[in-house]
Structure formats: structure tokens, C-alpha cells
Amino acid sequence: MFRRARKPLAAAAALASVAGLTTACGGSSGSGGVVNLTYMIWQTSEEAAYQKSVDVFEKAHPDIHVTIDLVPWAQYWAKLQTSAAGRNMPDLFWDHLEYLPELAKDGIITNLAADVKSSKIDLSQYSPKLLAQWENNGVIYGLPKDWDTIETIYNAKDLATAGITPAQLGSLSWNTTDGGTFVQALEKLTVDKNGKHPNQAGFDAGHIKQYGIALEAPNGQQDWWDFGVQNGCALQSKAYGTWTVNSTACVQAMQFEQDLMYKWHVAAPGTITNTPNGAQLPTILAQNTAAMTFDGDWDLDTYESSLPAGSWGVATMPTGPAGSGTVFNGLTDAVYAGTKHPEQAWELEEWLASAASEKIVTDTGTVWAAIPSLDSGFIAAWKAKGIDVSAFYQGSQGTTIGYPLTTAGTAFTNVVLKDMNQVWLDQMSPLAAANDITSVSNAAVASGD
């Protein structure tokens, strides 16, 4: 009797737990006719400004609700690819040129050309350099939302102690034989524990208290690519072409950076800047480990929150054997090709790329706008905080190289991370690294993955 009585109970329990396991999935469609859109971004410091813009959008579109999904860069692309596998991608997401070609190849991004035409978007309002990167044979993968360049960020007190003015920083030059005035200035900024500089007798390279400069980049955008453009190095034969990282000009640029660390002892070595002990550049500057860094304008907010007001500033990078130059890059918002709400997603895309939205974002000093007429707003925002950021603007107007366009972006980044890590630790020669990077990346281009 007892057994019999328990049976339905057991069955019910079994069924309940199976049901429990299977009901966890299911989409979220809006209630009361409201469409929910997800907008995925990676930069923490930009979330507030984009929320401000989205709030305005929602007010004008009460039937659309936008959720900003902030996923840090380190996890962003893995999350995007896995959610693509699960057919559960965000409706709109920040796109980067490193990943664009691969995403475009898989048909994951909406071609916006028809929408641009029907909505009569004035493409001439955008910086033509940016537009060109995101357009390919009449296909528009996204409307430009911002741009960035790399320049020098310095610690004002360290500069004053060394007797160097910010203006002088911008007029320095480097070369591959004696390092030039750039290395001379960095020697003044580098101090060992006894207060001696690298060009003085008795300097102790094993116990450096403050380095002249700290350089750090996952793939080269904030360091050797910039020395590269200043030395006439082209990373690729052409857009979507083969990799030419082992050309003399590029290898010299890498060698120069390695020399800054181990020959002249003026740059923080890889043990300080690399994985796993590497701190972020703003932290390195704030801790006085180095007197200056090369960094992108997207990090300005982090410098502001890491350093006391008035204690830091921005200057142009030095010129190299081939002149001045910087990496110039910009992002767009991509519309997921499989979105359930293509119309509403386009409305959000259109808004985010409009002068009105870009003005909201750039006037907070978050990023430079892709619409050049708005750039003064960015300068004004930082002027109000006591920082002159015009060096980034000058950089964008001079010689620039864009982000490499390739279908082998992930393979390139992966091998660069591994090899350049060893170059900055003085465990590998720049030439060996350049040859390996070139052959691995070109093999990936050839095999199509």
C-alpha cells in the first residue's frame, strides 16, 4: 500500500524536474507592443554617453525599448560568436575592422545600402576615410560612429622635473641609428633608484625607478604600428592583400621599440607591460612607473579618473625617419542580419549615426564624432576639464594608416600576441617574430580561415 501510494508522487516529481529543465529557455518579446532591442558595446567609459543618447531615442520612439549590453573587449568577440552560434545575437552591436571581414563573409551583418538610400542619409557628412573602410563594392556594413588616433599622454610633473615642455615633446624625432632627440628626452625622463639617468655613468639598469615611456598594445595599434607608419612600414600589400610585416621598415620599427627597452633602457620592459603582470597604461602613468605613454583617445576618461586634475596632458607623438603618423581607426554599429526587428534596428542605427546623437556623445568628451563638423565639441569638452586634446585631431589630419583589412584578423592578432609578447620580453628577435607573424597570417588568408 505504501509503495502504491508513493508512485504518483514519484512520477510527478520526475515530470516536474524534467519540465523544470526544459522551460528555462524562451525569448523575450515585448509586452504591450513594445519592441525590445539589445545593443552590445565594449567600452565601460562610453556606456553613460550612449545611454544618454538612447534615452533621447526612446523618448521619440515609445514603442522601442533599448537595452545596452556592456561586454568588455576581452570577452566581447567570443560572446558575439557564441551567441551567433546560438542564433541569439544582439540586434545592434559595435563592430571593429579587425572582425568586420570575417563577420561580413558569414553574412551576419545587414547591408545597409538600401536603408541608407530610402532614408536619404547624407553620407557626405561623414569623414570619407572612415566611410571607405566600412564600404566594399556598394555594400555598407555600418554607419561611422566615431574615430580614434594614438598620441602621447604625459605626466606633467615628471616632464617639468626633466625640464621638457609639452610643446618640445611634440617636436621630437627618432631614428634607428642613435635614437634621435626622442631617445634623448626619454633618457632625461628615466631615473634609477640613485637618481641617475641612462646616459650617466653608474646608471643601474636593473633598478629603474621611473621609465621614460611605457608602451603596450594587444596587437600593435598603440605601439609598433605607430613607429611603423613613422618609418614607412605598411602592414599589408593592400586592403585584403597579403601581410608584409617582415618588410625592413616594419622590422626596424619593432627593433626600435625593443631597443627602447633593452638597449637604451628608457621604456618599461615587457615584464611590466605584458601579460600577466602588465597593468593598464593609465595605471602605469598614475603609479609613476613611466613618465609618458602612447595611447588612444578612447582611454582619456580612464586617465582622468586615475590621475589628479592638471597632473597630465596630451602631446603629439614624435616623428620618425618617414615623418609623423598614427593609426587612424573608427567603429560602426552593425545591424544583425537575423534580427527579428529589422525596421526598429535600422531606426536605432539611423539615430546613433545621426548628427544629433553623435553630438550628444562627443560633447561629453567620450569619443570623437565621425561627423567632422562636430569635432570641436570634443575639444571643448576636454578644454573644460583643463586638457588640450587637439593633438589627436592633428594626428587624424596628417599621415595615417587604417586598421588592416583582412579575413585573417583573428589569426593575425593571435600570433602577434604570442610572438610580440616574447619580443618585449627580449626572448625573441623582431625579425624572427615578423617572419612568423607574416607566414602564419598569410597562411590564414590563403586557407580562408
Binding site: 514519484a10 512520477a11 520526475a14 524534467v18 563577420l103 558569414d106 615584464t271 600577466p276 620580453l425 580561415d449
Partner: protein, 311 residues
């Protein structure tokens, strides 16, 4: 005759009733195991089958998978990085297992004595195992930092210069192994301690009457009788070590160069950094095969030499 028929009828009726009852019992059993069976199939059997199928495809997670036959397997045999990762994994296991097992055994022998505070120490040594590996990795990174880490600081107080532990191709793997030894020794010790306590006291009493000394007692009595516990500990720890991922991920990210890229970390890189899901599946089958062979060898070794019944 009629009586006979009646008996047969009763028998067949009772057989039918028994069959009914058995069916009911079977059904009941299936219902009871259904929840865990569902979990087993959905989260273990199905993924394993999918991994085998996926290893025959090329897939970047976004597009549709392309059937490539055995191309991923051919690639695996010619990919020097996959063999490098396998060797790194073996190196890690060799660094990790003997150190961890011997330390755990010494601790278990020490804490098996009746002494003040032994219960407290048992808890203290198990604490690292209870903590989160990722958080521990972050903290150890600070300890091993060449500029501000306490380890190099202590070494410098002694008048030496410490190596750049985690950015050195020589030191990075031993550091990873040490952190894991530190973390899992207490856990291993628990099993060995339980094993020690299962050894009947009379065996030792008889031995002491026969004039057996301490060393003989350890090698002739304790260790042979501890084999069931040692067997369990070694098999599970070796499997766990071959799957090393978290400490590498947090402390070195496989570097410098490829010096700490274990097989599991390489699989992660292929799947989630390079988006070669098919190739990553193939590599995980290789790792699975290696673990299977090693475990099989351990089983063969221990089966003949293990006594489970002490009575």
C-alpha cells in the same frame, strides 16, 4: 484434470500478475532515474556525440558547418603547436602529481596521529581547495609580480635577485604547477587520511610484536594497505591535471610564447579566440584519448596490487 486446469489457470494468472508487477516496477524505476538520466544524456552523452561529429566539420560558430572529413585529424598530426601543447600538459602532470601526492601523504601521516590541533590543521590544509581557483590565480599573480610581489621581495632581502617568474619560459610552468600543488594537496590529503584510518589497528599491533621498525611499517604495511585510497587519488588527480586550464588562463594565458599552453588552453584558443570549433573538437578528442590510455594503464597497474578487504 479440472483441478489441473484450475491450477494452470491460477499459475498463469499469477504469472501475468507478476509480469504486471515487474512492468510496473520497471516503469517506476525509469521514472525515478528519469531526471538524472535526462541530465546525463543532455549534458554529457549528447555533447560528447556532438564533439565527435563536430570534429569532422569546419565551423567558425557563425556560418554553417562544412563537412571536411578527416581534414581536422590530418591537421592535428602536422600541427606542431598541438604536440607542443600535449608535451606541455605532460610536463605539467609530471611536475604536479608526484609533488602533490607525496606532500599529501606526508601531511596525512602527520595528521593521522592523535595530537592537539590536528583537526584544526585538517581544515586549514583543505581551505585552498575550497577557494575559487580564478581568485587564487589573481592573488598568486600579485605574489609573483617581479616589481611589487612579495616573493621576489623576500628573495631580494636575502641578497639575491628573483627571476621574472611568470614571464620566464623556464619558470612559468613550475609556478603554475606549484600553485596547483598548494591548492589541491589538502584535498588529496583528506582521502589519504580516510584511507589511513581504514587500516585496522591490529595489523600494526601484530607488526610491533614481530619487532617491525617504523620504515618497514610504512613500506610493508601502510602503503600497501593504502592502495585503494592512493588508486582513487591518483586516477582522479591525473585526469584533473591533464585538464588544467583555469590557473593557466588567469596566471599566464599560455605564455610566454607557448611555454604554458596546456592542451585544454590550446583547445580554448582554437575554439574561442580563433573560432575553429571543428578543429578544437578534434583536439579535445585527442586529449580524451590520451586521458583514456593513461587511466587504463593506471587501472591495470592497481587492479592486481590492490586489496580492498581488510577483514
Amino acid at each position: 484434470m479440472s483441478a489441473n486446469i484450475a491450477v494452470t489457470g491460477a499459475a498463469s494468472r499469477s504469472r501475468a500478475a507478476r509480469r504486471n508487477r515487474r512492468t510496473r516496477t520497471t516503469l517506476e524505476a525509469y521514472l525515478l532515474i528519469a531526471p538524472s538520466l535526462f541530465g546525463f544524456v543532455a549534458f554529457l552523452v549528447a555533447p560528447v556525440v556532438i564533439v565527435f561529429v563536430l570534429s569532422l566539420f569546419s565551423w567558425n560558430l557563425i556560418g554553417s558547418p562544412q563537412f571536411v572529413g578527416l581534414a581536422n585529424y590530418r591537421r592535428m598530426f602536422t600541427d606542431s603547436q598541438s604536440w607542443h601543447a600535449l608535451l606541455n600538459t605532460a610536463y605539467y602532470v609530471v611536475l604536479n602529481i608526484p609533488m602533490q601526492t607525496v606532500l599529501a601523504l606526508l601531511l596525512a601521516l602527520a595528521l593521522n596521529r592523535k595530537m592537539r590541533g590536528s583537526k584544526l590543521f585538517r581544515v586549514v590544509f583543505v581551505l585552498p581547495w575550497m577557494a575559487m581557483p580564478v581568485a587564487l590565480g589573481v592573488i598568486w599573480n600579485w605574489f609573483f609580480d617581479p616589481r611589487s610581489g612579495i616573493i621576489d621581495h623576500v628573495i631580494s632581502l636575502l641578497g639575491f635577485t628573483g627571476p621574472n617568474w611568470l614571464t620566464s619560459t623556464t619558470w612559468a610552468m613550475p609556478v603554475i604547477a606549484s600553485v596547483n600543488v598548494w591548492q589541491y594537496t589538502g584535498y588529496t590529503m583528506l582521502f589519504l587520511l580516510a584511507g589511513l584510518q581504514a587500516i585496522p589497528q591490529q595489523v600494526y599491533e601484530a607488526a610491533s610484536l614481530d619487532g617491525v621498525n617504523a620504515v618497514q611499517r610504512l613500506f610493508r604495511i601502510t602503503l600497501p594497505l593504502l592502495r585503494p585510497a592512493l588508486f582513487f587519488v591518483l586516477v582522479t588527480n591525473v585526469i584533473g591535471s591533464f585538464q588544467q586550464f583555469d590557473t593557466v588562463f588567469v596566471m599566464t594565458q599560455g605564455g610566454p610564447g607557448q611555454s604554458t599552453t596546456t592542451m585544454n588552453y590550446y583547445i580554448y584558443q582554437q575554439a574561442f579566440q580563433l573560432f575553429h570549433a571543428g578543429y578544437a573538437a578534434t583536439l579535445s578528442i585527442l586529449l580524451f584519448a590520451v586521458i583514456l590510455v593513461v587511466t587504463f594503464v593506471q587501472f591495470r597497474y592497481f587492479r592486481k596490487r590492490t586489496i580492498y578487504d581488510f577483514s
